[in-house]
Amino acid sequence: MADFITLRSDEPAQEPVVTLESFGDQSNATAVRIEPGEDARELLPFLGRIALVEVNFPAYTDGRGYSAARILREAGYTGELRAVGDVLVDQISHMRRCGFDSFKPNAPLDDADVEAAFARWPDVYQKTVDDRRPIWAKRHEEA
């Protein structure tokens, strides 16, 4: 069972996270946590100094964190992007497609289930912020 999963090769960031609200005033903070109702775009001016963004999922049914993650990656953020909270094995492959590269679930996940979840989709239909080529691109590169 795993209570922390990372897809990154570097060490997980250890810095204490601060709230988005206080992040703006703390010029030395490098780790921040976003809640569902908060605007990830407020972080865009600071991406260069951020090592970790935690996106909280108080309930897995609240999908705002997926947009937050994608927005950060679309803006070029390369640091650790961690999904925390009610993170279940059935969501992690979607989370990965939106740019999350580490996971800290409330309840530990079964390693085999995690592996199966990441391996589930042979291909994908959409271009997002992971590096997977969508099916439409593959179709036309073959032709």
Binding site: G63, Y66, S67, R70, W121, Y125, K127, W136, K138, H140
Partner: protein, 543 residues
């Protein structure tokens, strides 16, 4: 018709395996019902009043004969020998075992079908005009656009946990046969200077706060369709309300922001999104469109019909629509026999319709939002033989768009959310107005019944709508007049106090009697209502 390539098939197969695994984990106790529920819902599996219910997607309502036959097979093998075609162009089975569900999905996958995203707060099955590709009045074929959207929306990682369900509809004719503006996003394909693009309407819907979608963008081309729609969804995913599920649909967001502000936010997001390379190349829409190319129509066919059999002639006048190709016709098979259950078909009937599609309609069928079936490619010379086969199997009811062609949700006979039964009301109204011949006299009248405020039976959009409510533990029915789901889209108005089951049948008859007495030449019920207003109808019903 679209045919899966190995990519599409692999995706659907993967989904079957995923769900097989999830069902196993549920039955083994590795998952609680709370965790499992949204997963089964994303595979169309509800828990209803009597059993599990499976909703199978019929993408944009189009089916091959082989697929239709599989729907019959599932009804026979896994259910109690019938299925229910719905207003979302899907089919529902009412008596499914959880332990069978993975096998059913595997059977469906063997004919390129699935139940993916037929429930849950995700992008649902895309609906479309049932006459797509054969209507004389369309600007372009909506099916390739719908298929492009189907693929894009399948397993979309960002939009799987939206505030609420999300329904998209594509049409391409000025005549709206699919209630396009009552969808979360409605697309109407139009041609401008020879280029096809979509008018985009956002924020329609029914339920407890019905709204007609306003236009958000007058013209989005194929090159930007996906990024534009994605921008519409992202604004909704981020800012749609999540504090109250009755205010969570996009219609509320658009309404609360105002369409100007919503449009502005989408434009801003779109400006960013179109830089991300999200749109498939034109070759992809072209590849899909090839699957929907016109069949090799026979030319030189006659448009003449032998109308000497009056029953046949009546059916042709009522149920057969104009085809774009000379010598061909579009046939509507009514699933509304007088006194029957609207939208239900037995396994035998489903299989028969599959056979008839193979023999007479180039292998293809459509499901309509009015819960009927369409055979889109019938030669006029073969209409008589087709009609005889339908007639012999209880599928020849000549009542398309008449007051007996009722849309009705399952209501309290099947649905655990219901306040009142819908089906018995539909049966009684049809029987009453058919037995005294008024149905024929009245002509077009769209009557729609929902068993509760969720409006699965489109009651807001009925020329006459009926809504089941709970009045101190007994079934009660409210009457609405003046709705329309067509191009003259409008929402019905409640007449006044509700009725019991017999009372609502009387009230409907009184409203139609007033219409018959007051109509002018060529006026439909709806037109007369719009001209006269509510007052005289109220008087006739309650006076």
């Amino acid at each position: 018709m679209y045919q899966y390539d190995t990519y599409d098939q692999a995706m659907v197969d993967a989904r079957v395996e995923e769900f097989r695994d999830q069902v196993k984990r549920r039955l083994e106790g590795k998952m609680t019902e709370e965790q499992f529920r949204p997963l089964r819902l994303m595979n169309g599996l509800y828990l209803q009043l009597h059993a599990y219910m499976l909703r199978v997607a019929v993408p944009y309502g189009t089916l091959s004969a082989r697929q239709m036959r599989m729907l019959g097979h599932i009804a026979r093998k896994y259910d109690k020998g019938y299925g229910h075609f719905t207003t979302r162009q899907n089919i529902q089975y009412n008596w499914i075992k959880l332990s069978d569900a993975p096998d059913i999905l595997a059977d469906l996958a063997s004919v390129e079908m699935h139940a993916i995203q037929t429930s849950g707060n995700c992008i649902r099955n895309i609906s479309a005009d049932q006459y797509a590709g054969v209507a004389a009045d369309e600007a372009a074929d909506p099916r390739p656009w719908a298929e492009l959207l189907r693929q894009w929306s399948s397993f979309h990682p960002e939009f799987t946990y939206l505030p609420r369900k999300f329904k998209i509809c594509v049409i391409a004719s000025p005549e709206d046969r699919a209630a396009m503006r009552l969808h979360d996003i409605g697309l109407e394909l139009v041609k401008k200077d020879g280029v096809v693009g979509a008018r985009v309407f956002v924020g329609g819907g029914m339920g407890r706060t019905p709204m007609v979608a306003p236009e958000v963008n007058p013209f989005v081309t194929e090159d930007e369709l996906i990024s534009y729609v994605e921008a519409c969804l992202r604004v909704y995913n981020r800012y749609g309300r999540r504090d109250n599920k009755y205010k969570a649909r996009i219609k509320i967001l658009v309404h609360e922001l105002g369409v100007e502000e919503y449009r502005r936010q989408v434009a801003e997001e779109f400006a960013h999104m179109k830089t991300l390379g999200l749109n498939p190349p034109r070759e992809e829409l072209a590849r899909i469109a090839e699957h929907f190319a016109d069949p090799a129509y026979e030319t030189g066919l006659s448009d003449d019909l032998d109308r000497s059999d009056p029953d046949f002639a009546l059916w042709v006048d009522r149920n057969v629509a104009q085809h774009k190709q000379a010598g061909y016709a579009i046939v509507n098979i009514s699933l509304k026999p007088i006194g029957g259950i609207p939208g239900d078909a037995s396994a035998e009937q489903i299989e028969l319709m599959a056979d008839l599609a193979e023999r007479y309609s180039l292998d293809e069928l459509r499901v309509t939002h009015a819960q009927n079936i369409v055979l889109p490619y019938v030669k006029k010379a073969e209409l008589y033989a087709l009609w005889q086969a339908l007639e012999a199997n209880g599928l020849g009811e000549p009542n398309l768009d008449l007051v007996t062609d009722i849309i009705a949700c399952p209501g309290l006979d099947y649905c655990s959310l219901a306040n009142a039964r819908s089906i018995p009301v539909a049966q009684k109204i049809a029987q009453r107005l058919a037995s005294n011949g008024k149905d024929a006299e009245i002509g077009e009248l769209k009557l729609k019944i929902s068993g509760c405020i969720n409006a699965c039976g489109h009651h807001h959009a009925g020329h006459i709508g009926i809504l089941g409510v709970d009045r101190k533990g007994t079934e009660n029915y409210q009457l609405l007049l003046g709705g329309s789901g067509a191009e003259d889209c409008s929402l019905g108005t409640i007449t006044g106090p509700g009725f019991d089951e017999n009372g609502i049948v009387d009230a409907v008859e009184k409203a139609t009697d007033l219409y018959l007495a007051q109509r002018t030449e060529g006026e439909r019920f709806l037109d007369t209502y719009r001209r006269l207003g509510m007052a005289p109808f109220k008087e006739a019903i309650y006076g």
